[in-house]
Subunit: 679 residues, 2 copies
């Protein structure tokens, strides 16, 4: 048996072994891939007598976690296990599976999350320093579950695992679109299942304050539209996260992104009010006035309550994208700056941050903020969250700031999984010294909420975030993109157990989009398109607000559609082999897309919401016809007519134009095919 350091396919010595595929190897569906995996001979068969015993020290939260894992395995296998709730009192002395934790874990930065998992024919042993490490190990166990004709089993393995980074976060913006409690809960479950450990809760922005502030009730009366989490609900989430080994870092974005604050307290703004809760998207002027004492009195009250409500030592104060307009236009602020030798707005914001820092320090917290808060006048015990990129990260780490990377992990921008997956907080070519690298705590995926609702947020965050979770947890050498996609599909499927809607809500949205008619023509179309990337949705003639409908085709379309990769492989194979099978498969695909348009046009007649997609559907038919022509030419080895290449290029270029803020994703593939036609 071989011990391997990462996720690659494990080769067996014994090819007669029953859980092997025909090729004699076994693919584990683990994500994040553990640091060390050895696959051994044998398997632990799951039977209805399967039980778990917990030894050593474990919290009530851990007993509940183990109970949920037992139920999840029972749910997948249909096996009726004899244990109901695992508790300290209801805990057998021995069992086929024994979990042993040395001590209770603390849900805080730097806690030990390592574990070892050993599965043999006869038993399962999960050992961990802390019960949080054991939680991570239980998720590995669930992912190991396999089956064959003999039933369900866990393959014999020895796994030694520990995370590469200690801060593995997901930020959810609940201000732009409010996300109810159940959205947060199911995302916390999903995070735990891929071993993420920080939930960053973006609780205020121009569009709303989403936390109850008892000491400043006006904030909720005027700045929340009635949509905010009560103290009880916040505590419920804190407990829910803690029970899954996840820290919760609240963010209150100041001094910019503060329209909602200033709607309630216009006297604290840097320009005269009144203000109204912002309904549009963008960067707005309203900014706290950092030169008046009333501002700090307000924040003393505010952070006193918030620092007591949230239990993690870190408090995020945002600090990004203050456009400075109100400061520039306010004479008193300008006078203040001159008087205090503050050279520019960045300096003024640093002054503000210093004052805020004192307040939150007084209430026992350390500060986290976006890139912009970094300034020589601020102490180095703060954490910088870099949204601007490696340069900012390296700069911060070099200066001795702890730093987390978010640039490259903006999951709402609909970029492909590969892009996020290969984005490393400390890339191989990092200029940082080993000592400086220690300042890089990890990273955070960010889910900004301008263009998502509770209905489609899951499909924007998952499954792509699972690949980033692997980047944060697994060894740096785990970076085979193809293998990642294979495992991601398995993990995506397993994520549904937590009620995640990332798969099942698309068919629902298609039913609505087709007015409950046959969704097939729309499904055929939507499988080859994606929403436009980055910020392009805001610059295509549609003006989005917080109350716009987010139920159009673009909102149901998924990021990183699979057909790109399938078609890539198929075309490569056809070009290489010119085989009949690839030819037929390509012909089938192109024919389906070509013929789809007339069906789609019929669908538009009963569902006008689809009308905006008609030109794109037509373009898909046109380029599919070109694809058919190309494979025909390649097959026959014919030279096309002189103007064919030019005409095709015109069609392909035309098809690149987005409609309904979506774009066809198979154009490069068809281009590749066309380029192989004999000139």
């Amino acid at each position: 048996m071989k011990s391997l350091f990462n996720y690659i396919l494990i080769l067996f010595l014994f090819s007669s072994f029953s859980n092997l595929s025909a090729e004699g190897n076994m693919k584990l569906n683990l994500m994040p891939m553990p640091a060390n995996v050895t696959v051994n001979e044998g398997k632990f068969l799951l039977t209805p007598s399967f039980t778990i015993a917990i030894q050593g020290k474990a919290s009530d939260d851990f007993y509940s976690y183990a109970t949920r894992v037992l139920r999840r395995i029972s749910g997948r296998t249909g096996l009726f296990f004899p244990q109901d709730f695992l508790t300290k009192e209801n805990n057998p002395i021995s069992a086929p599976m024994i979990i042993n934790c040395e001590r209770l874990g603390k849900v805080e930065l730097n806690e030990d999350e390592s574990y070892t998992l050993t599965v043999t024919n006869s038993d399962i042993k999960l050992n961990a320093t802390t019960d949080i490490g054991a939680m991570r190990g239980l998720e590995t166990l669930v992912q190991l579950l396999q089956s064959d004709e003999s039933g369900y089993y866990i393959p014999a393995v020895t796994i030694e695992d520990a995370p590469r980074f200690r801060w593995r976060g997901l930020m959810i913006d609940v201000s732009r679109h409010f996300m109810p409690l159940d959205v947060i809960k199911r995302n916390l479950d999903a995070m735990a299942s891929v071993k993420m450990n920080v939930f960053h809760w973006h609780l205020s922005d121009d569009q709303g304050i989403r936390v109850e502030v008892k000491s400043l009730p006006k904030l909720n009366q005027l700045g929340s539209d009635g949509m905010y989490f009560t103290h009880e609900q916040i505590k419920e989430i804190l407990a829910y996260a803690k029970a899954r080994g996840i820290r919760v870092i609240p963010e209150f974005d100041i001094p910019g992104h503060s329209t909602a604050f200033l709607t309630a307290f216009p006297q604290l703004a840097s320009a005269p009010g009144p203000y109204k809760i912002e309904r549009n998207w963008g960067i707005f002027d309203p900014t706290f006035n950092p030169t008046i004492e009333a501002t700090y009195k307000f924040f003393d009250t505010f952070f006193k309550e918030m620092c007591a409500l949230f239990d993690d030592p870190y408090m995020h104060i945002g600090g990004d994208e203050n456009n400075g307009k109100q400061w520039n236009n306010n004479k008193e602020i300008q006078t203040f700056m001159k008087k205090h030798n503050i050279p520019d707005n960045h300096g003024l914001q640093a002054y503000f941050n210093q004052r805020i820092s004192k307040i939150i320090t007084k209430y026992g917290k350390k500060m986290v903020g976006w890139d912009e808060i970094q300034h020589p006048n601020l102490p180095t015990n703060i954490v910088i969250q870099s949204w601007r990129g490696q340069k900012g990260l390296v700069d911060a780490a070099t200066k001795g700031y702890q730093v987390i990377l978010s640039n490259g992990y903006y999951i709402d921008l609909i970029q492909p999984t590969d892009f996020h997956y290969l984005n490393d907080p400390i890339p191989f070519n990092s200029p940082l010294t080993d000592e400086q690298k220690k300042f890089v705590l990890g990273g955070e995926v960010t889910s900004w909420a301008e263009l998502v609702t509770p209905e489609n947020i899951d499909s924007r965050i998952w499954p792509r975030t699972a690949a980033v979770a692997e980047r944060f947890w697994s060894p740096q050498t785990v970076n085979d993109v193809e293998e990642m996609h294979r495992r991601l599909e398995c993990v995506s499927f397993m994520l549904e157990d937590f009620g995640l809607l990332h798969i099942k809500n698309q068919p629902m949205m298609l039913r609505r989009l087709t007015n409950n008619n046959d969704t097939a023509p729309l499904k055929t179309l939507i499988d080859v398109i994606e929403p436009v990337k980055l910020y392009a949705r805001h610059s295509q003639g549609v003006k989005y607000t917080s109350y716009s409908p987010y139920t159009r085709v673009v909102d149901a379309a998924l990021p990183d559609v699979k057909i790109k990769r399938t078609l890539d492989k198929l075309i490569e194979k056809y070009i290489a082999d010119k085989d009949e099978q690839s030819y037929n498969q390509l012909k089938d695909l192109f024919t389906t897309w070509q013929n789809n348009h007339s069906k789609f046009v019929e669908l538009i007649k009963v569902s006008p919401i689809l009308k905006e997609m008609e030109p794109l559907s037509n373009n898909l038919a046109i380029i599919s016809k070109r694809g058919l022509e190309a494979i025909e030419y390649i097959k026959k080895g014919d030279n096309p007519l002189d103007n064919w290449f030019g005409d095709v290029q015109k069609d392909l270029d035309a098809a690149k134009k987005p409609y309904g803020q979506t774009e066809i994703m198979i154009i490069p593939q068809i281009e590749k095919l066309v380029n192989k036609v004999k000139v």
Copy 2:
């Protein structure tokens, strides 16, 4: 134009009108069907400038309701409407749609829920006595939304509507399986959308107390497994329901069904403890001791808190299925009964109920209970919920008790929609006088929770409950089953807007059941089967508990599958017409089912949880082959061989046997076909 009194298809005078089907009539997708509908010529086209103005008196809740309706219509149509939140301050003087309410409604029994809705080419007017009536009218408006090539519109109609019964309820049991807040919320939304107005919350049973009881903390510590609603959460639900014009009646089931209570307070039981929270299903012995004062002291404390927490004047005390065993075996109780001339256990329970009645009366509530609480010693201001049937209901109404019907509405028993739909609280042949009929307040659908989880509860309740909602609201003459099924399909589709999982969770469960392999063979199978009915699941060798897996095929199978009706019609047509098209369609169906078995067997190999369904899949193939033979014989007019009928009957009888607690639903249809084969 004709004014019609019910739901039947409306015939137009002007067949050139564009929103007519080819037959010249228009089918409205309303459920419940309003009392009076007149369809007029014309339609109100929805455009991006559509706005709503609210006049007269309306609560903040109503403004929010109207805002949500605006968003739902925007979501369906993709139209970007200009209004964000409708509020008293943000309310235009005039608008294409004007809502006018005479007064604020109270969410209580007997409140006026009538409304009139008038749609013309140029405007929409919704008038109501109360804003609750206007909420009902808004739901009618959403259901009226239609589209054609010209866009989205509301057909010109005049609707005058009011409910037939004033108590139109849904009971959800959250004790057997705990149902989190979001399950309750989405069901409240669904209820409002079909104009139901009572949510009956079954909050305690042998398996758990699901409400926080601050004055008796032991109840939650020992009787809840940590799963209960806090006071804040209860208040959140009360507000959520009130905002939708729905009353909330809590039920605490006593003196039987009380194991969870007695786990915390064994000294109040009628036999010595200790007790443990019940994990099994059934009727159990633990019963409060009605002869000791400590019991009433306990309930005084308990109901004091509960009566203050819940705001409806009614309080449900359960009272069903006390098996009397503990009372029979307790000498002191027997002595007490003799001493007080209590002849039997029913009398003893009446004594208990009288004492409880005094307590809840003291705290301002009226009593509701199941059939068993009826007794000459109890006052007639209580409400009887009849689970035993018409006899009990008639008996209660005759004696001057207010009564609601639940017999025939046990939605968890997987009976067909027709059965529930045609079950009338006051059937045409009711022996009640007009005066007595007034005591029949309405009815309640009951969703008992032994065999459901948050994952599949929606598919057990919906859409069938929408048909019962129509029974409770619409005129008695609205009872065309075929037309109900047509409209139910539309309503079912629209219900997804509230996040209901009744449609989308089946594909998810199939993905899990097939271990993420191709679900098609399982889908083909599951579309022709249903879970066994009534209480049969408990008597087929599988012992279910609260922690069993509810993820098997039987749990994903839906009630009242459509194929029964489709096949019925197809066979009737084929028998009548012997036409080629019906023959081909039947042949396709039977061939698909026959060929499915070998695919299903392959699926079992990768997903052992399906193994239990193998014989049923095989039986489906066998009887489908018989179906193929039958249509062949009918087509050719041949006489089959002598033993064919006998052999077929053997196959059909064998196929009636359930497997995996599911049964094939197309056997009567094949029998009908076989009976038409020439002897």
